[in-house]
């Protein structure tokens, strides 16, 4: 139960959303539930709903709407590569392909060890540094990018993932 494992965090989130702001606590609570369960499980929907007086279906409609909430389990870390137009003009598709080939998976798939799921996502507001990706895991969402002069290579990205693997 969230209220057992993360009681302090739950209390803090609820305290930050008094009165008519109560429902707004659903967003941070869903992030917390995802941290606890790895994805937004049925239990998570029921627990978040119970904390806020919402039905599980109502909570699910939120979790299903926003792309950083995941209703299905996947790898321990989601590697999310921007392949939108500005990044693609600077080689993001090839970058994604090379990264996936190195991990022996296709886009959308999970590595055999359950460590990484690689996904294509929409614009991350880093087009100048393309190609770039973010890693979403229990610790949050983190950007990895190069610079316009020294863009990230697939080899460098593999190095980053190798380092993450040990953590």
């Amino acid at each position: 139960m969230l209220t057992d494992t993360y009681s302090t965090e739950v209390e803090a989130i609820l305290a930050r959303h008094p009165g008519d702001q109560k429902r707004a606590a659903a967003m941070p609570l869903l992030y917390l539930a995802q941290k606890a369960y790895g994805y937004i499980s049925l239990d998570a929907l029921i627990e978040v709903g119970a904390l806020l007086g919402l039905t599980p279906a109502d909570v699910a409609s939120l979790a299903g709407f926003y792309s950083l909430y995941h209703l299905h389990p996947a790898g321990r870390r989601r590697v999310q590569i921007c392949t939108d137009l500005p990044c693609a003009l600077r080689g993001a598709d090839k970058f994604a392909e090379e990264l996936c080939a190195n991990l022996h998976i296709k886009l959308g798939e999970t590595t055999d060890d359950g460590e990484f799921t690689v996904e294509a996502v929409t614009c991350l507001a880093g087009c100048l540094n393309a190609p770039l990706f973010q890693v979403q895991d229990a610790s949050g969402v983190h950007y990895y990018e190069g610079t316009p002069d020294q863009p990230l290579t697939a080899a460098a990205a593999i190095g980053i993932l190798d380092q993450l693997r040990g953590k």
Partner: protein
């Protein structure tokens, strides 16, 4: 001697530290406003400056504030830091490197709107950045720049940072407010406008992060100073986000009215590999593609001039295509983006963006029917005319204009 107005961190190292920001006159504009000016005087000053919204619509900022329904309180001011338009990455640089100038702008806007609570809504992907901004806000409380009875006056102000969770549509203001309330970020029909019934049904102003970052400088140096930059109808500077087929992509802070040629060739260094620039989108995925003719390249980048050329300045995210780019491929990328980001509320957008993607995939894969290009045009018109909000209304723009200017490339795929 400083040069930048918005990207001042490029002149002043460590400007994202409160003590450095204070050493350079930080929060004097806010303090002066609260202690020596009425909210109406601040509104009048911003109106006189001619500042227009930098998020895309270009609506006059002072006018926006003065549309708040009279005598209804509480009111809210919301900073739109949801930056999600493909090709746009300016607010991220501001929030990372010059956060206090942005926050001071939000505080000035709150004072002008007579709001005691302001929100900063950041996209969920900015989680690490949001933690920094929250630390910046905590510093302001610790040093008495936020809280109750500021500077001994009866004005009090709180700021809350809000994190989205991945949805382009939340940059649309009514969807953004829904998201703050913990709802799905789906736009609402207007009227009522947020100035009348916004966050929690109270009068609300939503301003883009770059717009707000202008305010401390205008309040400190005056509207006449601001008008020494840019054009008469589009005063000031703008951060132009340059991306795609250029040698030096990046943020360029330039006066409004600078030409596309200067941005792309002088600052961006032209296309890589000595290739020619074929065209560009002036404002992310939502605006019309323009061909890179001499006439278009010499067009000044201000709201009126770009509109006259058949596109829009919007958020000024210039995505460049060189001659090697297949425009059908580019259109397909944009169709995929909008199909993914349609919020699903209204049918023309939800179904239309899906059909558009299917049509373009077929054409791109060489499986198009002779009638498909006409179908794309008809479908695009339906999506533009029938959609509830700006997302759907703008979703076909880049695709239809590509087809108009580069039709031969589409026909070659059939």
């Amino acid at each position: 001697m400083t040069q930048y107005i918005l990207l001042r961190h490029r002149d002043i190292p460590r400007l994202n530290q409160l003590e450095v920001y204070l050493q350079h006159g930080g929060f004097e504009a806010f303090k002066n406003a609260v202690t020596t000016k009425t909210p109406q005087q601040v509104i009048d000053q911003i109106k006189a400056s001619g500042l227009r919204g930098r998020g895309g619509a270009g609506f006059p900022t002072g006018l926006k504030w003065s549309l708040l329904t009279k005598d209804v309180f509480p009111r809210y001011v919301v900073a739109n830091s949801d930056e999600s338009e493909p090709g746009t990455f300016k607010d991220r640089e501001i929030l990372e490197n010059n956060p206090y100038q942005f926050l001071e702008g939000l505080m000035i806007a709150a004072y002008a709107a007579q709001a005691n609570l302001a929100f900063n809504y950041m996209r969920g992907e900015f989680a690490d950045l949001a933690a920094k901004v929250e630390a910046n806000i905590a510093e302001l409380y610790a040093h008495g720049w936020l809280g109750q009875n500021l500077f001994g006056t009866n004005y009090s102000l709180d700021i809350r940072n809000k994190l989205g969770a991945g949805a382009y549509i939340c940059g649309e203001e009514s969807a953004l407010l829904e998201s703050i309330e913990g709802q799905r970020g789906q736009p609402k029909p207007k009227p009522p406008f947020p100035a009348d019934k916004g966050l929690y049904q109270k009068p609300t102003v939503i301003n883009n992060a770059e717009t707000l970052t202008n305010l401390p400088m205008i309040v400190a140096r005056g509207s006449a100073w601001f008008r020494t930059f840019g054009t008469a109808a589009s005063p000031g500077v703008k951060i132009f986000c340059l991306s795609g087929s250029v040698n030096r992509p990046g943020n360029y802070e330039l006066p409004l009215g600078t030409t596309f040629r200067v941005l792309i060739e002088k600052h961006g260094g032209g296309a890589p590999g000595g290739r020619k620039v074929k065209g560009f989108i002036p404002s992310g995925a939502s605006s019309n593609v323009l061909p890179a003719t001499d006439e278009i390249l010499d067009c000044p980048m201000d709201y009126e001039s770009v509109a006259q050329k058949g596109s829009g300045l919007g958020s000024a995210s210039v995505i460049v295509f060189d001659e090697s780019v297949d425009m059908v491929w580019a259109a397909l990328k944009i169709a995929r983006f909008f199909k993914h980001e349609s919020c699903g509320k209204c049918t023309p957008c939800r179904v239309g963006t899906r059909l558009m993607l299917e049509l373009l995939e077929r054409v791109y894969n060489g499986e198009g029917q002779p009638d498909d290009l006409r179908q794309i045009e008809r479908l695009g018109g339906v999506i533009q005319r029938g959609s509830l909000c700006g997302l759907g209304q703008a979703a076909p723009n880049a695709i239809l204009s590509s087809l108009r200017h580069f039709r031969a490339e589409f026909e070659a795929h059939l």
